[in-house]
Amino acid sequence: MALLRITSPHLTRSGNTGHVMFLVVLATLPGLTMLTYYFGWGNLINVVWATLIALTCEALVMLLRKRPVGFYLGDGSAVVTALLLGLALPPLAPWWLTLVAVSFAIIAAKHLYGGLGQNPFNPAMVGYALVLISFPIEMTSWLAPKALVTDIQPVMSFSETLYHIFPFLSAEPLVDAITMATPLDAFKHKGALMAEEFWSQEPILSPRSWAAWQFVSLGYLLGGAYLIYRKVFTWHAPVAMLGALLAMSLIFWSYDPSSFASPQMHLLGGATMLGAFFIVTDPVTSATSVRGRIYFGAGIGILIYLIRTWGKYPDAVAFAVLLMNFAAPLIDNYTQPRTYGHQSGRSS
């Protein structure tokens, strides 16, 4: 009987970081399913490919840093980063694009800063921003949704998609994929068209194809709701972000519905929902206190609207998140909660 002298508490709730990450992976399934249903196998292949890269990079860095590889892979954070990139990149993103994004995310954005918990910027978003700036063409061509394609040609088969992503696997010439801009992208480049004209003209936003985008977003929303229910994170940051985006878009849209995108489009088009529930909620790079998280989320919502409407890029989740990552320590500094027995937050 060897009794240990260790500090209290002696009781801990079951569950660990790996478990939290597992729940996050689980919560992305509805969104991933929707993506696969509407846009074919591309994102699924991307996710698997990205995960492979991420785990390899993580293991490599751990070997270099002389840390136990298995223990660190077990925390699952690399898998989540890879998953988010796999979901965010276009379905037919070539293999090297994913490689660049994921390896940069893991090696530069995470481990150069000291590894899990130390990185000031969301690794997935750093990787995403890098390839978005470097390879704008590959990044802005999305596969047309199935609903739209099936009228013209059958949706791409698994092997066709695979060969598109890894061209060197196939000796055959590639089948042409029908790619088109995302709704937000198309709307941004509608030129002088009125919104009504745009909707009637562009085939992307025919009710059927627009539904594809909305269902993907709703899939993420569902996953996010599950994570809030499982107490993986609190509702504050996502709700603040969605609320701010809704408020901004509502103000401008009601002022001039012809030239500003509708709130529905802002909330359900693009990466808004993915961002709100899987990226803004990344605890490492967000603000800490409840009040801080509200400010953090709201800041992202406002920035997304500003960049989408007046910036150069059609979708802006990555940039908005990275900008607010900068501000997180400052927000933390000013939102320290009032400690029991104190008049104000900070004791000087």
């Binding site: 009987m1 009794l3 240990l4 002298r5 260790i6 500090t7 209290s8 508490p9 002696h10 009781l11 801990t12 709730r13 569950g15 660990n16 970081t17 478990h19 939290v20 223990f71 925390d75 954070s77 590894g115 899990l116 918990g117 130390q118 994170f233 609190t234 605890p283 490492v284 967000s286 800490t288 206190s289 409840v290 998280r293 933390d332 320290q336 909660p337 009032r338 400690t339 029991y340 027995g341 104190h342 900070r346 004791s347 000087s348």
Partner: protein, 547 residues
């Protein structure tokens, strides 16, 4: 009865595990052959032994006297012989030994003379306080603050509410629960004594809702004795750590104890029901504090329950009494699983602050996994009952930035363990805070010490300078005297002897004056060195020249 309850931030709901030990009534633990009685079972100065090796002592006889105001006397828990006053391991997280009186019991349980005062209502305040102080009562809730000191708050504050902390929020522990169930009368009568002492109008007993029998027992007694107007029974929601003094005060009154302050600062005193029962026994029955109720529980015990235990009883004897299954035992805790101390040595004694012994199996309290990286998930901040930012404190403690930790109110941490409980990365957060607090205290201590050393060093230097200056002064004086002598010898050979003698005396006087003035000067200003400038004043003395 009470209209409104407040809530405190955070809190957790760990498995309660209280039913195991409440199935059987309180029994008395068997008398051990040897008792180990630490001199310090409370906060403050250790008590001073009054007995010597070989002394026969009677049950309830004072064997150690309080040493100073914030100290508590210790009494012999039974009759027997003192066999040693020596170092023995005591219940302390460090596992270090401390001075203990070790006595062999004789089994006769022979009481020393008791002086019961059932009509305490006629007593003066100071007389009552003396009785409580002489009975060696320390708070039985856990901290062990001298009860008599607490009951004598400074004149500057006025106490308007007495809070009795029957929350017992920590898992496993049922000592207060069983005490309230079985000895409601003692507790309430003790409370009445405290009310008389403090002159308070309101008394609130806070009990967590998971103790219906205790609530019923107290309620029955209050109703029977028409006390429900004066003493309110308040059922509070089950949440850990509602039994923390600060948290309970917030729940019951909505007031917050100011940071760094004590409840008396906001007009509240908080006592444990066990302490109240002890006060009753001390005043009405004249019995000093020599035993308490201890919960023995945990899956490694075949017959858990609550025992009335004499102080100094070794834990191992109680474990044996409750049929410990040695092969199952993995961890031995004094106190509960959230804030208790892990014991390495089962031979150490039960003391005044021991409310529970948990003998747990490996499955019951599994060892937490290896520490992972903090992902700043903020769960710790959500559950912190002091509304701190635990993960910020963790970063600061880890990187030894103690000033920043202080800025983030590290000292308001009550070490309840809620943050460590929820941490998904298995970070021993509380240990980081304890480490940081200890370091801060040690640094402060070091700083006072070095300040003291500096003063001593400077004083020594001043003294050395002064000595050197005096030596210098004497040297010049001697040289001058020699010169004068030489001059008088060579210059005027025909001078009469009297003149020479007068000159010598004059010189000696001047020297003496110079020395005196020098001493005065240095007494006023230790740095003064320039003794030669002090003016010798003529003085009619016949001191012989020293040198």
């Amino acid at each position: 009865m009470s209209d409104k309850l407040w809530d405190f931030h955070g809190g957790i709901h760990p498995p309660e595990n209280k039913t195991q030990s409440t199935q059987v009534p309180i029994t008395t633990a068997p008398l051990p052959a040897r008792l180990v009685i630490p001199l310090q079972q409370h906060i403050g100065q250790p008590a001073e032994p009054l007995v010597e090796i070989g002394d026969k002592v009677l049950k309830g006889q004072m064997i150690c006297a309080a040493n100073g105001y914030v100290s508590v006397a210790v009494h012999a828990p039974t009759s027997g012989t003192v066999v040693a006053i020596t170092e023995h391991t005591v219940p302390h997280p460090s596992g270090l030994p401390d001075l203990c009186v070790i006595m062999d019991t004789d089994g006769r349980e022979q009481w020393a003379e008791r002086s019961p005062t059932p009509d305490y209502r006629d007593l003066e305040r100071t007389e009552l306080l003396d009785i409580i102080a002489n009975a060696g009562i320390a708070g039985l809730g856990g901290a062990g603050f001298p009860a008599a000191v607490k009951l004598n708050p400074s004149q500057e504050v006025s106490i308007d509410i007495l809070v009795i902390n029957g929350a017992e929020c920590e898992p496993y522990i049922t000592a207060d629960d069983m005490l309230m169930q079985e000895r409601a009368a003692e507790i309430i009568q003790g409370i009445e004594i405290v009310i008389q002492l403090l002159g308070v109008k309101r008394c609130l007993i806070g009990i967590e809702a998971n103790k219906p029998q205790a609530i019923a027992a107290l309620e029955k007694y209050l109703l029977e004795h028409q006390l429900q107007q004066q003493i309110e029974l308040v059922t509070i929601p089950v949440k850990y750590p509602s039994g923390g003094e600060k948290q309970l005060i917030r729940i019951l009154t909505g007031r917050e104890v100011p940071s760094g302050g004590i409840p008396a600062d906001i007009g509240i005193l908080c006592h444990n029901p066990g302490t109240c029962a002890a006060i009753y026994r001390a005043v009405v029955l004249g019995e000093p504090l020599i035993s308490r109720i201890v919960t023995l529980t945990g899956a490694a015990l075949a017959s858990p329950g609550n025992l009335e235990v004499l102080f100094g009883t070794p834990v191992s004897e109680l474990l044996a009494h409750c049929q410990l299954q040695e092969d199952k035992l993995d961890r031995l805790l004094m106190g509960g699983p959230m804030m208790g101390v892990a014991l390495e040595d089962p031979s150490l004694p039960i003391v005044k602050t021991t409310n529970c012994i948990v003998a747990s199996t490996r499955d019951e309290l599994p060892q937490s996994g290896p520490e992972q990286a903090c992902i700043r998930c903020g769960m710790c901040a959500e559950v912190c009952p002091a509304t701190l930012l635990p993960q910020q404190l963790y970063w600061y403690a880890k990187s030894k930035e103690f000033d920043k930790a202080l800025e983030h109110n590290l000292l308001d941490c009550i070490e309840c363990g809620a943050c460590s409980y929820v941490c998904p990365s298995n970070i021993p957060l509380v240990q980081y805070y304890r480490y940081a607090k200890g370091e801060i205290r040690a640094q402060e201590h070091e700083h006072t010490r070095s300040e003291h050393s500096r003063q001593r060093f400077e004083a020594r230097k001043a003294r050395q300078d002064q000595e050197a200056a005096e030596k210098e002064a004497r040297r010049t004086q001697r040289a001058e005297a020699a010169a004068t002598k030489k001059r008088s010898q060579s210059g005027a050979t025909t001078d009469d002897a009297a003149a020479t003698k007068a000159a010598v005396i004059q010189a000696a006087l001047e020297r003496a004056q110079a020395k005196k003035a020098g001493q005065q000067a240095t007494a006023q200003d230790p740095g003064a060195r320039d003794l030669k400038t002090t003016k010798p004043q003529p003085k009619q003395t016949e001191e012989p020249a020293g040198e």
